[in-house]
């Protein structure tokens, strides 16, 4: 029987006197989903509940068909978790540490050692794997965290702020790894991050939490495929005449930041027509793509709509 990867049914979680998650219902079966929301929205609590650390006060959470409340151990053997905070043992070498984690996940001793080496090579720490974790730089520690999350071959990977504090090359490596794992088709990934760019580059679906509720769900892949009427342009040259002419054709135009413009094509207007206008006025169309809303727009809209205006 095919269970959804994560299924939440009216999930409510209470911490102390506060109700942190309220009546969450959601179902995820795709390959990657981004979990977004402002601070305090309940993302960490949700992750902790899925891992079985908090018990729901109402409703249920199922992962691969198992109840997080009662089958926590079974779930944990199928899940790999990369926490946001530091998580390492100072005096252990990377290989020993990953091996320990693998054995605790149930791998036999020799296999654990093999896979520890493999996963460290895979994330790019091959050269440094015999060094103590305490001597690692921040980027390397993040990669080590990723290595321990995948060493036991989980079916679901939960990443909490994986690119936190990483400099651009390290971030690119992390994003590349996430994409590779996604494309390998062997696991599902939940990515929790404040950096919308990261989510955009890796996730197919997005769910936005606010104050413990789901306020928005998007399938980014679908959205990219549809929406052929919305253009985003970056223009160079004397713009005003161009904009007026575009409006004259029936298109709506709105300025964005730094020479960017959003255009809604009227029904009988094609891209070629826009190019004609540009050719006539010697405008450079430095950038052009079909895009309705960036993830940032979606996020800000989701925040606004439940606030009744910021």
């Amino acid at each position: 029987m095919n269970h959804p990867v994560i299924e939440l049914r009216n999930l409510s979680v209470r911490l102390g006197s506060r109700e942190v998650l309220r009546d969450l219902s959601c179902s995820f079966s795709g390959s990657t989903i981004g979990l977004l929301g402002p601070n305090g929205a309940g993302k960490s609590t949700l992750i902790n509940t899925l891992l079985g650390f908090w018990t729901p006060s109402a409703g249920s959470a199922h992962i691969f068909g198992s109840d997080a409340r009662t089958d926590a151990k079974k779930i944990r053997s199928l899940v790999g978790y990369m926490p946001e905070n530091d998580a390492f043992i100072h005096n252990m070498s990377a290989v020993s540490f990953i091996r320990l984690m693998a054995e605790l996940s149930g791998l036999p001793s020799e296999t654990a050692l093999e896979r520890a080496h493999e996963s460290l090579f895979y994330v790019g720490l091959g050269e440094a794997r015999y060094r103590k974790l305490g001597s690692y730089s921040l980027g390397m520690k993040q990669l080590a965290k990723l290595a321990q999350a995948i060493v036991h071959g989980p079916k679901l990977l939960i990443l909490d702020e994986p690119t936190n504090g990483l400099d651009p090359p390290a971030r690119q490596r992390m994003i590349r790894l996430i994409r590779e794992m996604r494309d390998s088709g062997q696991m599902h990934i939940v990515l929790c991050s404040h950096l919308l760019r990261d989510v955009e580059e890796t996730c197919e679906e997005v769910v936005i939490l606010k104050q413990g509720r789901v306020v928005h769900y998007s399938n980014l892949a679908d959205e990219r495929r549809s929406n052929r009427r919305f253009l985003e342009l970056e223009l160079e040259g004397t713009i005003d005449g161009f904009v007026d002419a575009a409006r004259g054709l029936g298109c709506e135009c709105a300025p964005g930041a730094f020479h960017r413009w959003k255009l809604v094509l009227a029904d009988n207007v094609e891209v070629a027509d826009i190019y004609r206008l540009a050719a006539e006025r010697n405008i450079q169309l430095r950038r052009l793509n079909f895009r309705r809303d960036t993830l940032e727009d979606i996020f800000l809209k989701a925040m606004e709509s439940t606030n009744g205006g910021l």
Partner: protein
């Protein structure tokens, strides 16, 4: 010039270890971003700018003042570090106001400035809670409030957007812009390059203690001569489009994309190229997207500093 931050042949060594080497900068007002890998000298540069450390060689002038004039200098400068720690037991309000008292403001004025700063970062409701109980984003915002509460003219911020959710990021960026518009020199360091692209007026790229590039990003880009401009075009007949491009003398390379629906063009004269596109596009090509691949900080970074360094 007394409206700039000037570094004149500045070097800083910690024993044998290099902090920064022969740095020459002249930073105007507005938002300046410091970009570079970890360990490239950004924090050293910031510490030099705020007068916390002295250079081993060279001169620093901040709006005409030197670190030898601390009484005046430190009033002008505000600093928000990357370190996430607070004196124990203080509330958010106290974190800001106690430092203000050190500037010599009396109680009433200090209270007024504190609330102004706290309001600006949107933490009025939580101001009387302990800072230790704040979420990561709130702690970041209180640090920011602390740094500009005394209305400095130079604001040095080390990774100020770290840990902030997208909403608060946007608000904080708006805050920086308004400060910059008031004539402030806002210097911030960040790893999130596409944000740096959007918010900065100028960029300083650092690598291994040297300044690799500085200035407005477009002008930096056009100065990197040995890299012709790369543009990615997605359309329905890329092969045919490619042959049209080859006819031009400024196009040095055209590469077909793997999925046969796009091509990568390298041209030495982007302006001419775009105007050419306007004409070619009218010949029945269905253009899906046009995107310069390297007109941004990301690519400049890659060219000058290198992508994906092996783990050290």
């Amino acid at each position: 010039m007394s409206d700039r931050i000037v570094f004149d042949n500045v070097s800083k060594f910690y024993g044998d270890v290099l902090g920064v080497n022969r740095v020459n900068l002249s930073i105007p007002s507005g938002i300046t971003s410091l970009v570079g890998p970890n360990g490239s000298g950004k924090t050293t540069l910031m510490n030099l700018m705020t007068g916390l450390i002295r250079p081993s060689r060279g001169d620093i002038r901040i709006l005409g003042l030197t670190p030898d004039q601390p009484e005046q200098l430190f009033r002008l400068v505000g600093y928000s570090t990357q370190y996430d720690s607070f004196p124990k037991g203080l509330t958010g309000y106290q974190c800001v106001s106690s430092y203000l008292r050190l500037y010599g403001f009396d109680r009433a004025r200090s209270e007024q400035l504190t609330w102004a700063a706290i309001d600006r970062v949107g933490l009025r409701d939580a101001a009387h809670r302990r800072a230790a109980g704040y979420s990561k984003g709130m702690r970041q915002r209180i640090r920011l409030a602390q740094s500009f509460a005394h209305n400095p003219r130079v604001l040095v911020l080390d990774e100020p957007l770290n840990g902030l959710d997208p909403l608060v990021r946007a608000e904080t960026i708006a805050l920086f812009r308004s400060l910059a518009k008031e004539g402030c020199h806002v210097i911030l360091s960040s790893h999130v390059l596409h944000e740096v692209d959007i918010i900065s007026d100028q960029v300083i790229l650092m690598s291994a203690g040297y300044v690799a590039a500085e200035g407005n990003i477009q002008s930096v880009r056009s100065e990197i001569e040995d890299h012709p401009m790369q543009i990615l075009i997605r359309c329905d007949r890329p092969g045919e489009l490619a042959s049209r491009f080859f006819a031009e003398d400024h196009v040095v390379e055209v590469r077909l994309h793997n999925d046969r629906r796009g091509l990568l063009v390298k041209t030495q004269a982007p302006d001419r190229f775009y105007l050419l596109m306007n004409r070619i596009a009218l010949d029945g090509f269905e253009v899906e997207s046009v995107a310069p691949c390297d007109d941004d900080v990301n690519s400049v970074y890659e060219y000058l500093i290198g992508a994906e360094e092996p783990t050290r």
